[in-house]
C-alpha cells in the first residue's frame, strides 16, 4: 500500500537542511511545526483497518510543497488568525448566566490539552456520541444561557481550531468500543455506502484510490486529523461536517445535514481511521 512520495520527501529533506537539523529522505520524514511540534504524518494503520490499509497517511503528505510549507510555521498558517479570534471569544462573557468559556474552563492551554485527540467521544449524560461542536453548543446553551452557533459556521470552526491547537502533535485516539461501538459501526457502514447518481463511497476515492490523481486533484486518504482545515480554495477554516457535505454532494447525492446522526457517526469512524496520526488542526490544505 505504500505509495511513492519522492518529491515531498525531497522538500522535507531540503527544509530540514535549511533549519540545520538532521533528517534523511526516508518515508518516516515528518512535519515539524515551528521547528518544535513533531507531527506523525505516516504511521501503521490501527488494528481495525488491518484488512484494508497497512499505513495511515495525513492529508498533508499529499499536498504540494508550497501548501505543505504553509503549515510548518504558525506565522505562515492562515488558520492561526482564527485561533487568535477564538482566544478572545474564550474570555467573552455572553448569555443569561454571564459566563465565558473561561469562567468554567479557565486557561484554555491547560483545560483543553488532549481534548481534540479523543473527540468524537461517548457522552454519558446525553447517552450518545458527542462531537466537539455538539459539546461547544451544549456549553453555550446550558452552561452560558447563550445562543448556539451554526454547526459549520465561522465561530464554531474558530473555537474548534483554538481547542485543537492545544492538542497539536498528540496522537488521535478516539474510542470505538464500549458504548460508542454502535455509532462507530453506523459510520463504517456509511463510509462504504455508494451514494448518489455517481455511486461513489468514501472508500472508492480515499481507500481504493488515494495517491491517484482525479483530474487535477491528488486523492488523499481523507483523514480528518487536520481539522478544522484552512483551505486555500475558499480561504477560510472548514469544519469536518462541511467537508463531508461537499464530498457527498459531489457524488450527485442528497447530502446529510451537518450535525446529523449520520455525519456524527461518520466523523467518529473517519476519526478512528486516523488513530495514531497527530492532531494537526488548524491544518492547511488546498
Amino acid at each position: 500500500m505504500t505509495k511513492p512520495m519522492g518529491k515531498t520527501l525531497t522538500a522535507i529533506a531540503l527544509a530540514a537542511v535549511a533549519f540545520g537539523t538532521v533528517a534523511s529522505a526516508d518515508e518516516s520524514a515528518s512535519l515539524v511545526v515551528n521547528g518544535d511540534i513533531e507531527m506523525v504524518t505516516r504511521t501503521a494503520a490501527p488494528a481495525h483497518l488491518s484488512d484494508s490499509l497497512d499505513e495511515v497517511i495525513s492529508g498533508w503528505v499529499f499536498r504540494s510543497d508550497e501548501t505543505q510549507e504553509l503549515q510548518m510555521d504558525d506565522f505562515d498558517n492562515p488558520g492561526m488568525i482564527f485561533v487568535d479570534q477564538a482566544l478572545e471569544q474564550w474570555e467573552m462573557v455572553e448569555g443569561t448566566k454571564d459566563k465565558s468559556c473561561a469562567s468554567c474552563h479557565g486557561d484554555v492551554e491547560e483545560s483543553m490539552a488532549g481534548v481534540r485527540a479523543v473527540y468524537p467521544k461517548w457522552n454519558d449524560s446525553q447517552e450518545k456520541v458527542y462531537t466537539m461542536a455538539m459539546q461547544i453548543n451544549d456549553c453555550r446553551e446550558m452552561g452560558m444561557g447563550a445562543d448556539k452557533w451554526k454547526y459549520t459556521g465561522g465561530k464554531m470552526a474558530a473555537m474548534e481550531a483554538l481547542i485543537s491547537v492545544q492538542s497539536r502533535g498528540m496522537p488521535v485516539n478516539v474510542a470505538i468500543d464500549g458504548p460508542a461501538e454502535a455509532t462507530w459501526e453506523m459510520g463504517k457502514e456509511l463510509y462504504y455506502t455508494r451514494t448518489g447518481q455517481l455511486e461513489l463511497s468514501c472508500a472508492n476515492c480515499h481507500e481504493d484510490n488515494y495517491g491517484n490523481m482525479i483530474r487535477a486533484d491528488h486523492l488523499s486518504q481523507g483523514q480528518i486529523n487536520g481539522f478544522p482545515t484552512y483551505r486555500l480554495k475558499n480561504a477560510k477554516l472548514n469544519t469536518v461536517h462541511a467537508r463531508f457535505k461537499g464530498c457527498v454532494r459531489d457524488t450527485r447525492a442528497e447530502t446529510f445535514k451537518p450535525g446529523s446522526d449520520d455525519f456524527v457517526a461518520l466523523e467518529l469512524y473517519v476519526a478512528s481511521r486516523g488513530n495514531g496520526l497527530s492532531v494537526e488542526g488548524p491544518s492547511v490544505r488546498n
Binding site: 455511486e199 482525479i214 486523492l219 454532494r249 447525492a253 442528497e254
Partner: protein
C-alpha cells in the same frame, strides 16, 4: 377537444425519447454487460464524442482516464486505465456497455453508469446536494453515449 390535448401530451412526452431511442430502463445487456443495439439509432459522431469525453460538465472521462488523443485537455486522471487502444481492446457493443453501466461488465467498478436513472442510494439533484425534484436524467444522452462510443472506437494503437 379532449382528444386534441391528449394527442399534444403524448407528442410532448414522446419528444424526449424519439423514434429508435432506447430509454435507460429499456437497455438490453448481454450476459457480459455489452449493449449490441445503438441507443439512439443514429450513428455516433467521433469528433463530438471527443468533446464529450474531455468536457467536465459532460462525460469528463479524463477525470479518471488518461487519453493521449485528448492531450490538449489539461489534467488527466489515474483512477481508471488509460483509454489509449480502447478501440483495439473492446468491440463497439462492449464499449457501449461500459459507458451505459460499467458495473455489468466489471462488478464493483468505481466507474459511474452514464445511462442509468434509478436504483441509486440518496440520489440528488445534480450537484446541488438537494433531493431531486423529479425523475433523474442520465449523465449523458443516448446520442452522447453513441458519440463517445464512436470516439473510443478510433483509439487504436
Amino acid at each position: 377537444m379532449k382528444l386534441t390535448s391528449l394527442t399534444c401530451a403524448v407528442a410532448l412526452i414522446g419528444g424526449a425519447a424519439w423514434a429508435g431511442e432506447v430509454a435507460p430502463k429499456d437497455v438490453a445487456y448481454t450476459e457480459d454487460g455489452a449493449v449490441e443495439a445503438s441507443l439512439s439509432g443514429v450513428a455516433g459522431d467521433a469528433a463530438n464524442g471527443a468533446i464529450v469525453a474531455g468536457t467536465k460538465s459532460k462525460g469528463n472521462c479524463v477525470a479518471c482516464h488518461a487519453v493521449s488523443a485528448l492531450a490538449d485537455v489539461p489534467f488527466h486522471g489515474e483512477v481508471g486505465p488509460s483509454l489509449d487502444g480502447a478501440g483495439d481492446r473492446w468491440s463497439e457493443a462492449e464499449l457501449r456497455g461500459l459507458l451505459t453501466n460499467a458495473k455489468l461488465t466489471f462488478e464493483g467498478t468505481v466507474m459511474p453508469a452514464f445511462y442509468k436513472v434509478e436504483g441509486f442510494i440518496r440520489p440528488g439533484d445534480a450537484y446541488t446536494g438537494k433531493a431531486p425534484s423529479g425523475p433523474l436524467s442520465p449523465l449523458l444522452t443516448a446520442q452522447e453515449i453513441e458519440d463517445v462510443v464512436a470516439f473510443l472506437a478510433t483509439l487504436k494503437e
